[in-house]
Amino acid sequence: MKKLLALPLLIAGLGTAVQAHHSFSAEFDSTKPIKVTGTVTKVEWQNPHIWYYVDVKGEDGTVTNWAFSGGAPGQLMRRGVQRNSIQPGMVVTVEGFLAKDAPHNANGSKVTFPDGRAVFTAGNDEGDKKKE
């Protein structure tokens, strides 16, 4: 059963930077973490950011297509995330942060598969503690 989950996540150091073509803090709200589960409908594995889309069924049965942006293909490949890591038809749980000006657009960070494997698609890995 697909669920829409929006848990208040406390992740230290998460989302402070996105190796992206636009500022994380300008485009995404670090106070609004999201977590959704659904079926991948489309993947754009292109520069300057990948985009992947997920159909999420709400508790009322309504299906909403979410759009997630991530890092660049080369960047993701260097940490082991390949072009075929996320494919249409896969069921995934995506964690990230809501875009400030779009209700179903988010910065996609952790993508978890049904077998428990996970990949990190954000420009900045949530485990990265930046020394500033």
């Binding site: 992206a20 636009h22 994380f24 890092g71 875009a99 503690k129 020394k131």
Partner: protein, 255 residues
């Protein structure tokens, strides 16, 4: 007799110095035909020690950054409300040096006795560095990547780059978009590259920007060889391929 003693003393001192210098360079490093360390190969981007994941762009650690020069050029670029000024990367503008160098992608170096060519997967940065100790070119227009020249100090390659235009210093903007960290057009950078061991380079980067800071400052990074990345080579990077930020407004719909 004194001449022989002096000669022997000099010989001993020279041998001692040579052994000392040789001991500082690890054994088994690749060398070119003329005996210089050979930096040809695939690498990951420079990383600072202590980062746990190492998956993101490297930024300068505040503790190394010198104090700002009173009355100097602003280190933090104030926002103007003009998107192309405030968020130039939304317009696919270049990262420049050193920001691009520190981006979280692969690098590939090519070296012969005349030049070291540094290429970087991010934005396909290419720096061509002559190694013959020449002076900087004159009369150049300021640029995002400057004019680099290199010379050897023993087994350390020293690269000095001048001729920059005022631009972002590193990717800190994407940590806090109110702090767009800048360098001025007076910046000179000095890179010191040497082998730490056969698979690791020491990369010491000095920022000498008299318009912005009270003095030069440096940070040490590590560059790890990644010969396995030869299998796939670089991924292409064309920013405009799927840029969702036309005109400076970013969104999933690309409007």
């Amino acid at each position: 007799m004194r001449t022989i003693t002096n000669f022997l003393s000099a010989a001993v001192l020279t041998a001692a110095f040579t052994l000392t210098a040789a001991a500082q360079t690890p054994a088994g490093i690749p060398r070119t035909a003329d005996g210089k360390p050979d930096f040809t190969g695939f690498y990951e981007w420079p990383k600072s020690d202590g980062e746990q994941c190492h998956c993101s762009a490297t930024i300068f650690d505040r503790k190394y950054i010198a104090a700002q020069k009173p009355g100097g050029e602003p280190f933090l670029e104030p926002r103007t409300g003009i998107p192309r000024h405030d968020e130039p990367r939304d317009f696919c503008m270049p990262a420049g040096f050193p920001s691009n160098m520190l981006s979280a992608y692969a690098m590939q170096f090519f070296q012969n006795k005349n030049d070291l060519v540094m290429t970087h997967e991010f934005e396909r940065m290419t720096r061509i560095i002559p190694l013959d100790g020449r002076k900087h070119r004159e009369g150049l227009e300021p640029s995002f990547y400057g004019d680099p020249v290199g010379h050897w100090e023993g087994d350390t390659l020293v690269i000095e780059t001048t001729g920059f235009k005022r631009w972002s210093l590193d990717d800190y903007f994407y940590t806090n978009n109110k702090e767009y960290r800048m360098h001025s057009d007076a910046m000179k950078t000095i890179e010191r590259i040497k082998y730490k061991d056969a698979k690791t380079l020491s990369y010491n980067l000095t920022i000498d920007d008299p318009k912005t800071f009270v003095g030069p400052w440096s940070q040490e990074f590590t560059i790890r060889a990644r010969p396995e990345w030869e299998k796939t080579g670089f991924v292409e990077y064309f920013c405009e391929e799927n840029n969702r930020c036309p005109g400076g407004h970013c969104g999933a719909d690309g409007k």
